[in-house]
């Protein structure tokens, strides 16, 4: 028992931080209906500013004022005014992408502002962690732990009281349901929303500064991982209840430490299990808390009809002559492109373009999943990783050709996809996003560390394939192979779109209930598409690995997955060509940034794509799709006069 307590008591402060973050998430979700995945990044921002101020010799209280009391709410105001105000009545997907954009942009901007140097041993906020104040059952309680627990308990109490018993709290709760109805009650929804953003950002900042000393050095990824624990805490409170979220966070923190204490140290499983534990808890909650599923599927603003309907896809507006011209143009371009790559383009560029096209296959999996079936996955890079190691290990141990390996990669990744999607499937939307995020982090921390998978950061090597007498070891021949595989993948996706499944998906995207009422099984259709999408990502990952000839866990980490989603959403997630354009844009921009700009600009790419996510909020059809439509309307149809004449019921 005493051993149990000696593990459990140090877990309490962790639990408190999870609870703080979880309550912040619930608060934002309740008031703005945004599940703020950037919450960890906000915590990181405050912790970083606090660190910088203290190391500049500021007194702690002044640093706290700047970073948490003023800085954090200010950041909240900025992201509300600049972003989330515009997404309130948008679908879950748009909100998630907006939050993802922030999650990527905030650390990138901070890196530009404060430099990328390592920041070791972050300072503590209040009581010194090196002073032992008293002992509980012989365990020393230091100042850091004590201040964390006291601050969290006080904040949790005040917040719950405020939320449930004051007028401000009442307004915030009303906002969650319908900002427009709040307006009709004579209240400025903007002002209520801003208040809640300030409050939740304050919580994020506070949690960030409190937790920072726990990490050896300040890194944004630590804070992103913290988010999964916070999500699990919020899930324990069914995304509604602040007290239960608090309890959930505390229990999670304690369990994590207890688990860490009893597991043998030193192997991959125990070092990875701690970050992976919240994932397991989250999945368990998804499976066993039926109330949670209901909450996460909801969109019930009675005034949602005030929003304009989503814009149609440009291809539906093309007139036949233009369509024919585009088709001919595209064919000529593709042939010219392939021929050029095989002849006069330099090897370096062929390699780069091959990378882009291999990634396009991964991106195609997002077009299938997100664009065609309206689901979101935050672990496509992990599926690509699964594909890469499947092909690589098969080649290494069984001397299997990569060509066979690629097929195996697709199959294995698809199977893994089924396992990931099963628990979250009935809800879709947000729950699926969170389950896949957690899975991605689990893969980072445990799955990809084993020598039988990606072997951690040391990585594994993948040979180039041979097919009988044909050897694909040269970049040019491999380029051809990638083109062929890409064409097959496109053909599959197109066949699905035009066939029965595509129509079923379109029906599901419109209304799951209506689709179910005409005999479509939503669960089965969605899981099928999810598996296929995971399989495509696996194929793409295997090809990408074989092209690079070696891959490691860092090539497929969660941040990469997040960037993938943002890139594809920004460029155009509704069309097949969007995936290819996204692949090209990603690789070419990456090349540009790494080769021709100074290293301090390394985060520029993230900023660009993060900003792209903001554009996505305004134009969910994607930037290129938007430009295309703009061109069609204004060049061909003469100012879109016909569009003007349409009357909506």
């Amino acid at each position: 028992m005493s051993q149990f307590l000696s593990y459990a008591i140090p877990g309490l402060p962790y639990g408190c931080v999870f609870a703080l973050l979880g309550m912040g998430l619930v608060l934002t979700y309740q008031t703005s209906a945004v599940f703020n995945l950037a919450f960890g990044a906000q915590a990181y921002a405050s912790a970083l500013v606090f660190y910088v101020c203290v190391s500049d010799g500021w007194p702690t209280w002044a640093a706290f004022l700047v970073s948490v009391v003023f800085g954090a709410p200010l950041l909240g105001v900025v992201i509300d005014l600049g972003l989330f105000r515009f997404v309130r009545s948008r679908p879950v997907l748009v909100k998630l992408v907006a939050a993802l954009g922030l999650l990527i942009v905030i650390p990138a901007v901070l890196q530009v502002a404060f430099g990328t140097s390592n920041r070791y041993s972050p300072p503590s906020l209040w009581l010194s962690p090196s002073t032992v104040y008293f002992r509980v059952l012989g365990d020393p309680i230091n100042g850091g732990e004590l201040s964390t627990v006291i601050v969290t308990a006080a904040v949790a109490l005040l917040l719950s009281l405020m939320f449930h018993f004051t007028q401000t709290g009442l307004r915030m709760r009303a906002m969650a349901e319908s900002p427009r109805m709040v307006q009709l009650a004579g209240l400025s929804a903007e002002r209520v929303g801003m208040t809640s953003w300030m409050l939740s950002s304050f919580l994020a900042g506070l949690a960030g500064v409190i937790i920072a000393p726990v990490f050896g050095s300040l890194q944004s990824l630590n804070f992103t991982q913290l988010l999964v624990a916070a999500v699990a805490a919020a899930a324990a409170g069914s995304l509604v209840s602040l007290p239960y979220t608090f309890l959930g966070g505390v229990i999670l923190g304690i369990l994590e430490e207890v688990l860490g204490g009893y597991l043998p140290s030193g192997n991959v499983l125990s070092s990875g299990l701690r970050p992976g534990f919240p994932f397991i808890v989250l999945l368990a909650l998804l499976l066993f808390l039926p109330g949670l599923r209901r909450r996460w599927g909801r969109t019930d603003d009675p005034l949602a009809a005030c929003d304009p309907p989503p814009a149609p896809i440009a291809s539906t507006m093309r007139d036949p002559a233009l369509y024919r011209a585009t088709r001919i143009g595209t064919t000529v371009f593709v042939i010219a492109f392939v021929l050029s790559c095989l002849t006069w383009i330099t090897d370096n560029w062929v390699f780069t373009l091959s990378q882009a096209l291999a990634l396009s296959i991964v991106f195609l999996s997002l077009v299938l999943l997100t664009g065609m079936s309206g689901q979101i996955s935050l672990c496509q890079a992990a599926f690509a990783g699964v594909g890469a190691f499947t092909a690589g290990q098969l080649a290494m141990h069984f001397n299997l050709s990569i060509l066979v390996g690629i097929v195996a990669a697709g199959v294995v990744a698809a199977l893994v996809g089924v396992v990931v999607a099963l628990p979250a499937l009935r809800v879709g939307g947000l729950a699926l996003a969170l389950a896949t995020l957690a899975f991605g982090l689990l893969a980072d921390n445990i799955g990809f560390q084993f020598s039988w998978s990606l072997n951690g950061d040391s990585g594994i090597s993948l040979p180039r394939p041979t097919l009988g007498p044909i050897n694909f070891s040269s970049d040019r021949s491999f380029f051809l192979l990638i083109i062929v595989v890409l064409a097959i993948c496109i053909a599959i996706v197109e066949a699905i779109r035009r066939g029965t499944t595509g129509r079923q998906l379109a029906a599901l995207r419109g209304s799951e209930l209506a689709a179910a009422s005409i005999g479509i099984n939503p669960a089965r259709t969605k899981i099928g598409v999810f598996a296929l999408s995971a399989g495509l990502a696996g194929v793409g990952g295997a090809l990408y690995g074989s092209l690079d000839s070696s891959v490691s866990a860092s090539d497929f980490n969660t941040l990469v997955s997040l960037v993938f989603v943002v890139v594809v959403a920004t460029v155009g997630v509704y069309t097949v060509e969007g995936a290819i354009e996204a692949g090209l844009a990603y690789v070419l921009l990456n090349n540009l940034v790494t080769s021709s700009l100074p290293s301090s600009w390394a985060s520029l790419l993230e900023i660009v794509f993060g900003a792209g996510a903001v554009v996505y909020v305004l134009h969910p059809e994607g930037v290129i799709e938007y430009l295309k439509r703009f061109a069609i309307e204004h060049l061909v149809r003469g100012g879109g006069e016909r569009a003007e004449a349409e009357v909506l019921a």
Partner: protein, 252 residues
């Protein structure tokens, strides 16, 4: 259209050549009308004519793209909904006009506290419960679990106790049992008697004509009739509404 006897007071609501659109889709074309102060005006029209859009534009939920909107003589054209509400315009929207996730009492408190002092709000709450004992019984029940009729009573209770200058009602009787429809109309009558002007969007034409003094008829986003209710025979009204909504332009 000018209403006899309304010259003294500015019109409760006035549309001047108003256009409105949802994104690319135009919903209203050059709509002009007045709701004279203290009167009940019914807004009729087939499905998809733009009735709800008129209601939403009047309270600022959907922005107008051209023209002017005046509330009690004040230009509110590009004002946000909450400011228009504070000028004394209440809007009971179509469907579910209450906060489903708040309990009955919180629904009432939210509105009262935004208009009244704390003490007046408590007083208003008591009066609302006195008028609708049913709501008092269910004061701590989530509004989403009330029946459709009770939800609409709740929406009207907010208005009855603190009478606004203008009430916009959007198909409040849709899907209700006849007895509940009677109750809704009784409450609307009470609200009118308290001096509130009403703009009533309605599909049950006979019921609307019992209450209304003026009638507006919309079709395909345009105002096609505006006249005193007495001039509109029931037969003519039926004829207006029997014209099917124009098919959406499918040639694109």
């Amino acid at each position: 259209m000018s209403a006899p006897g309304a010259e003294a007071l500015p019109a409760a609501l006035q549309f001047e050549h108003v256009d409105a659109a949802y994104g690319r889709f135009r919903a209203l074309f050059d709509v002009s009308f007045t709701v004279p102060s203290g009167s009940v005006t019914a807004l009729l029209g087939p499905n998809g004519a733009g009735k709800s859009t008129v209601a939403r534009v009047a309270t600022g939920l959907v922005p107008s793209t051209a023209g002017r909107i005046l509330v009690s003589g004040r230009d509110v054209t590009h004002q946000p909904a909450w400011k228009i509400t504070r000028l004394g315009v209440a809007h009971a929207p179509e469907g579910r006009p209450v906060f489903a996730s708040l309990d009955v009492e919180d629904n009432l408190r939210l509105t009262f506290l935004s208009q009244l002092s704390r003490k007046e709000a408590a007083d208003a709450l008591e009066r609302a419960y006195a008028r609708f004992p049913r709501l008092a019984e269910r004061r701590s029940q989530l509004a989403g679990t009330l029946s459709g009729g009770e939800q609409r009573m709740l929406a009207l209770a907010r208005v009855l106790v603190v009478p606004p200058r203008l009430l916009v009602v959007d198909e409040l009787t849709l899907g209700l049992a006849p007895r509940m429809v009677d109750e809704v109309y009784r409450a609307l009558r009470d609200i009118r008697d308290a001096g509130t002007s009403l703009l009533v969007v309605e599909q049950q034409i006979p019921r609307a004509l019992e209450l209304a003094e003026f009638v507006l008829v919309l079709r395909k986003g345009r105002l096609v009739q505006a006249r005193p209710a007495s001039e509109l025979s029931a037969g003519l009204a039926e004829e207006i509404l029997s014209v099917p909504a124009a098919p959406v332009d499918g040639s694109s």
